[in-house]
């Protein structure tokens, strides 16, 4: 019996290792579709998907939109600015109005942690979390897992260190939960002021010095340093941050082996990552972007499942025998 994902994808914390593996395995054949002359399969023909983005996003929104279009779904983008949201409409009213127009799925990004869950509990459509506050960004976590698995051939036993502002990062949370469920060892490294207080309960190794993290890790996932963290007093200055925690070529060369470099983007070159690392031979940052489309296609496909009561009749007609 293959596992199913259920109605929504809200985070990796609640998925089982089998469910994560199902998504990664399903993403594998979807990579090929983006290499075809006609980059489109008819799978979600007739399905309507709303991309509801309450926060600015280019990469994630475009990636979802490509994934939806390559599966032949009809898509509508709603951005918070310039919509009725800016007129004070509540999240649920917005979603219910959209649902009244007969939609099938909602991809939501929202500044409040738990927004995707809140929506999923209240509407019939499938809900996919594209980032909620500082909680989770499951498809980013999944594409990081896929990229790591591509390179190491497995996730079990590999050592991945997340470097930077772990406290405010939904990418970090999705990575920690996803990686540990798949048997990887996870480390975190960053200024103590940017590590969550409860970090010791997350089953990760804490590194205070980036040199030690590099020495330990097979791969580094380098987080974007939000520039507003400086004005908020979490770090003294960007230059100081770069001097202490920035991943530079010199630091990588001192390690005794190759360390794979991931970054969820957008990058602050010269702050958390130096240009010769970002563009260096061990960087898989652009592969992450390519894999993002495949992972999102896999999630859309798996969640689009039909109605359970029809499963029985489908078994009879499924496949030629």
């Amino acid at each position: 019996m293959t596992p199913s994902l259920g109605k929504d994808l809200l985070g990796l914390e609640r998925l089982s290792g089998d469910q994560i593996k199902l998504i990664l395995d399903t993403a594998e054949p979807f990579k090929e579709i983006s290499e075809r002359a006609i980059k489109k399969v008819p799978t979600l023909r007739g399905a309507t998907i709303v991309n509801l983005f309450f926060e600015a996003s280019t990469r994630t929104r475009v990636s979802f939109e490509f994934a939806e279009k390559r599966l032949s779904a009809d898509t509508v983008n709603v951005a918070a600015s310039g919509s009725s949201v800016s007129k004070g409409e509540t999240l649920v009213d917005t979603a219910r109005n959209l649902e009244a127009m007969r939609i099938d799925m909602v991809v939501i990004r929202h500044g409040a942690s738990g927004a995707a869950q809140f929506l999923a509990d209240r509407i019939e459509s499938n809900v996919i979390n594209a980032g909620d506050g500082t909680h989770e960004h499951p498809t980013q976590g999944l594409l990081d897992l896929l990229t790591l698995r591509d390179h190491f051939g497995r996730l079990d036993g590999i050592k991945v260190c997340i470097v930077g502002d772990v406290m405010h990062s939904r990418v970090a949370r999705s990575n920690i939960w996803g990686l540990t469920k798949m048997g990887a060892q996870v480390g975190v490294c960053g200024p103590r002021s940017l590590l969550p207080n409860a970090i010791d309960e997350m089953g990760v190794t804490v590194f205070n010095r980036v040199e030690e993290a590099i020495e330990w890790a097979d791969a580094l996932n380098i987080l974007r340093l939000q520039l507003e963290r400086m004005t908020a007093g979490y770090i003294p200055s960007l230059r100081e941050y770069n001097r202490v925690f920035g991943v530079s070529r010199e630091r990588l060369e001192r390690a005794h082996r190759d360390v794979l470099i991931l970054h969820p983007g957008p990058m602050n070159r010269g702050v958390e990552i130096d240009s010769d690392v970002a563009d260096g031979p061990f960087s898989v940052i652009l592969e992450q972007v390519t894999n993002g489309v495949a992972v999102r296609m896999a999630v859309l496909y798996l969640l689009s499942g039909g109605k359970p009561e029809l499963a029985e009749s489908a078994k009879r007609g499924g496949g030629e025998r």
Binding site: T26, P42, T43, A314
Partner: protein, 185 residues
């Protein structure tokens, strides 16, 4: 495992091998040689059969014709009604199929719906000069106007029966069997 299901063998291992070799010869004959030929198997067992046909052609003609694999899951016409999403396999078309003679290989031809999906999928890769269909077993029961060009063995199976093809690489032996649906788990 319950009691052994009642099965009748359509092809045993030796007949299976002989049939595939004949199909390989017929493919070359149909194409007047191996020029422009591409053999594409349908996941999963069609891919194994395609590989066997390609090596059979290589033995006789001393040439390795390009071979591909097609997974038609995303083109199925019943995706809106099936329950849990079916597992998607790998599609791999190694050459530009424009102007080529593509031979689709599958294990069992029944309703014709798989082949309809395969034709749609191939069209997304290019415009072949010709597409032909080679199947190991044609069991009858078509629901679409699709007919094979090359057939290993033609039988007339009832709707209550299922035809299973087993191949060495996946199932540990080569055979084609027919059984009552209820009897197969």
């Amino acid at each position: 495992m319950a009691a052994p299901p009642k099965q009748t063998t359509i092809l045993d291992a030796r007949a299976f091998d002989r049939t595939l070799r004949r199909m390989a010869d017929e493919i070359v004959e149909l194409n007047n040689g191996t020029e422009g030929l591409v053999i594409v198997g349908i996941q999963r067992r069609g891919v194994q059969l395609a590989a066997r046909i390609v090596s059979s052609i290589a033995e006789r003609e001393k040439i390795e014709v390009p071979q591909g694999a097609l997974d038609i899951t995303l083109y199925r016409d019943d995706l809106q009604t099936v329950g849990p999403r079916p597992v998607v396999g790998q599609t791999r078309i190694p050459v530009d199929i424009d102007g080529h003679h593509v031979v689709i290989v599958d294990d069992v031809l029944y309703t014709g719906r798989t082949i309809r999906a395969a034709l749609d999928e191939l069209a997304d890769f290019g415009r072949p000069r010709r597409i032909a269909l080679a199947v190991l077993i044609d069991r009858g029961g078509r629901e679409l106007p699709i007919q094979p060009d090359i057939v290993g063995k033609r039988i007339s199976a009832e709707a209550t029966q299922r035809v299973d093809v087993m191949v060495e690489d996946i199932d540990g032996r080569d055979a084609a069997v027919i059984a009552e649906r209820e009897a197969v788990t």
